[in-house]
Symmetry: C2
Subunit: 422 residues, 2 copies
């Protein structure tokens, strides 16, 4: 008997018919002898509907008091889901009980609409499991020290599921999604992309943050921090496939260094075309430059991704970074009006039509020449590299947006990701 956490997304919960199928799938696992905790999302479209109502009433107000109410409103979507799923399970002959985040409780900080989980009390859930019940817990939400409802931000249900699995020391956390696992790259760009049977936590972190939108990145961080074996798998398989088959499907995010498993050098190709690059030219090279530039950007609540500063010459340097494309104009304005004059920099330039392409692989640590193979592949396709940044397990380049598909396909082939491994 294992303790298993299932997480189902909004599409899986999108109608009573689909909820009934989720219940049948969960019941199948219970009948196979396992203890089950289920974390469902709100029915698809519900969170948007609720926040749309709120937006009609206050399109401009974003005070903490309003954000608190947004959480009060948005959290109801998951509360409806857990109640419905509990009823569906009981109609299947299971014992089941649902809890809102505050009832567990899942305690968070007070950052409304983007709260972070601080602790989860497992006593109530354990008692129900011991009594033979399936326990259903709202994703996406918790309660702060003052007893206010909080939400974790979009995709927060993944984080809830992994955090619950961590608190319960569950044997595995199964994230059911509308894809059947993590691929070497996006199959829409490279039809030969292949599903990975396993991926290391570190690789998954890079793949998620680089735009493979399979799992919310914070859930991966949680899985890594608490070493929760987490599997991404499809919710579109028939509910009655054997548990033994379902249990090894999808992609496992693993924490065990498996010596027998041949470690691929590069596991996948990630890409992101939502970014824009900005360069501050001719910055006097003295201490505090990076802070002066990025501090102002951060104060304006603009997230920065890649940051590059090269060596200086003649006491001047160029400082480059990328931001989300939606923040491009605002960032440029900010730099031109405040930062450049204060710094005594020469000028600011930028380009919103860029993309970032990355090779990710834990095997890169111990293999020389991977980065140069990447650069050589791009060069052979005539693609100019604008920026380069590297870490232990990934190498990213910024290139012209129009070359993105070409670059991803060429790299996918060059690193032999098209071929099935033995």
């Amino acid at each position: 008997m294992a303790l298993i956490v299932h997480k189902y997304g909004g599409t899986s919960m999108g109608s009573t018919e689909r909820i009934r199928n989720v219940a049948k799938r969960v019941a199948k696992w219970v009948r196979a002898g396992h203890q089950l905790v289920v974390v469902p999302s709100a029915m698809s479209g519900e969170t948007n509907r609720l926040l749309g109502l709120a937006k009609e009433l206050a399109p401009q107000v974003h005070s903490d008091a309003v954000l608190r109410e947004l959480d009060m409103i948005a959290s109801t979507g998951e509360q409806v889901s857990v109640g419905l799923l509990s009823i569906a399970l009981q109609a299947e002959g299971m014992q089941a009980v649902s809890y809102a985040g505050w009832q567990v409780p899942i305690k968070t900080d007070s950052a409304f609409t983007k709260a972070r989980i601080q602790s989860i009390d497992d006593a109530r859930v354990r008692a129900d499991l011991a009594a033979g019940k399936v326990v259903i817990i709202t994703g996406f939400q918790g309660v702060d020290p003052q007893g206010h409802i909080t939400t974790l931000g979009r995709g927060g249900s993944d984080t809830s599921a992994v955090a619950v699995a961590a608190a319960l020391k569950a044997d595995e956390c199964l994230i059911y999604t509308d894809v059947d696992g993590v691929y070497t790259t996006d199959p829409r760009v490279v039809p030969e992309a292949r599903r990975l049977k396993a991926i290391s936590f570190e690789e998954m972190l890079e793949m998620a943050s680089l735009g493979s939108k399979v799992l919310q990145i914070r859930s991966v961080e949680f899985a890594g921090k608490y070493r929760v074996p987490t599997r991404v798998l499809s919710s579109f398989t028939p509910w009655d496939i054997p548990v033994a088959e379902e249990a090894v499907s999808g992609t496992l995010i693993s924490f065990e260094e498996d010596e027998k498993m041949e470690q691929a050098v590069v596991s996948g190709i990630a890409f992101n075309r939502d970014e824009a690059k900005i360069t501050v030219l001719g910055v006097p090279d003295k201490p505090g430059i990076a802070y002066q530039i990025l501090g102002a950007v951060a104060d304006a609540n603009i997230d920065v991704d890649v940051i590059i500063q090269n060596v200086s010459h003649d006491g001047k340097t160029d400082f480059s970074f990328t931001v989300h494309r939606n923040d491009y104009d605002r960032t440029l304005d900010l730099l031109k009006s405040k930062v450049v004059p204060a710094l005594g920099a020469a000028s600011v330039s930028g380009d919103p039509k860029i993309c970032k392409v990355s090779i990710v692989g834990i095997g890169m640590r111990s293999h020389a020449g991977i980065a140069s193979k990447m650069f050589g592949t791009l060069s052979a396709e005539g693609i100019n590299i604008q920026m380069i940044t590297t870490s232990e397990i990934k190498t990213s380049v910024v290139i012209d947006e129009k070359y993105m598909e070409l670059a991803v396909r060429a790299l996918h082939k060059a690193f032999e990701l098209d071929e099935p491994k033995n």
Copy 2:
């Protein structure tokens, strides 16, 4: 400065546009110098939509565990409403904060879907009011001793509002509805029906229980028990009518014996055509008869309204009562198959096509001849009276359903309810 509780029904909360109007109305009261607590219902149609989803999943299951989930689901409708209203108030420049029942907390027993309020903690609400905030509290719901969400049953938001007003010792509880007060009878039956400026708690109780569906009966009981001045008024007046005018509109349910106010002998005519009468004939007249008959009916969860047993002759008596028309066939079957054989009664008869008409008035206590005036009026119209039952402040008759409108109009005229009082 007064402390006022406002309650708004689902129609008033039916769209963001209407919620905005509620916010403007509440803000107007705040600007007039009052402290405001608001108890809104779910947006109209929302509770039915939610319970409809649940019903699709478990049309037959009615265990306590399922009822608990129904409350989990249904309570979200009000939670959305309070959040939206708080946002609308903040957009109006007010300070506002919303609470779900469990956050106040409003403590109830554990009777899911029909819980009763046991206590309300006023500390949090008082602190917010003192800080200048409008406090918005979910109607219809609370939390039981184990931390489960409970609901109070249909119309429960009225009860929530009055209970909150009682706990806060509010100066008045204003129930905004889609009617502009309590009438001498239903204006659809008697066009000359007149709005009452005030009605005693006892009269309101009789009017409500007899089918004037203005207020949930439990809210009237609550208002009476805790002597909460409660006003029923229209939510369809323009939001910007002066507070001084709005404050005296509608009908006040009063607890003060006002010597100056001329006390009408009869305040209103109530009626109900949802009932059916049943008579057990030739029952041996010995102790325990009523219990044997009604005990069996109650065990089948059938509510009984009027009960009549007349004096016996020849050691036999006839025992009559009325039930909801929907329960008529079930009650007859039950009596025929079990009760009549066990009792040794002669037979059972009944009639589902009856109605009950009542005159209600606190002045009846001290005026003789009111009942006989009622009987004379009906007789003059050729209406046969089938059953009579009386209390201190009402007299009810059961008559053939087809005479209902005629009886109500004749009584309304006979007791001079058509004429405005001085």
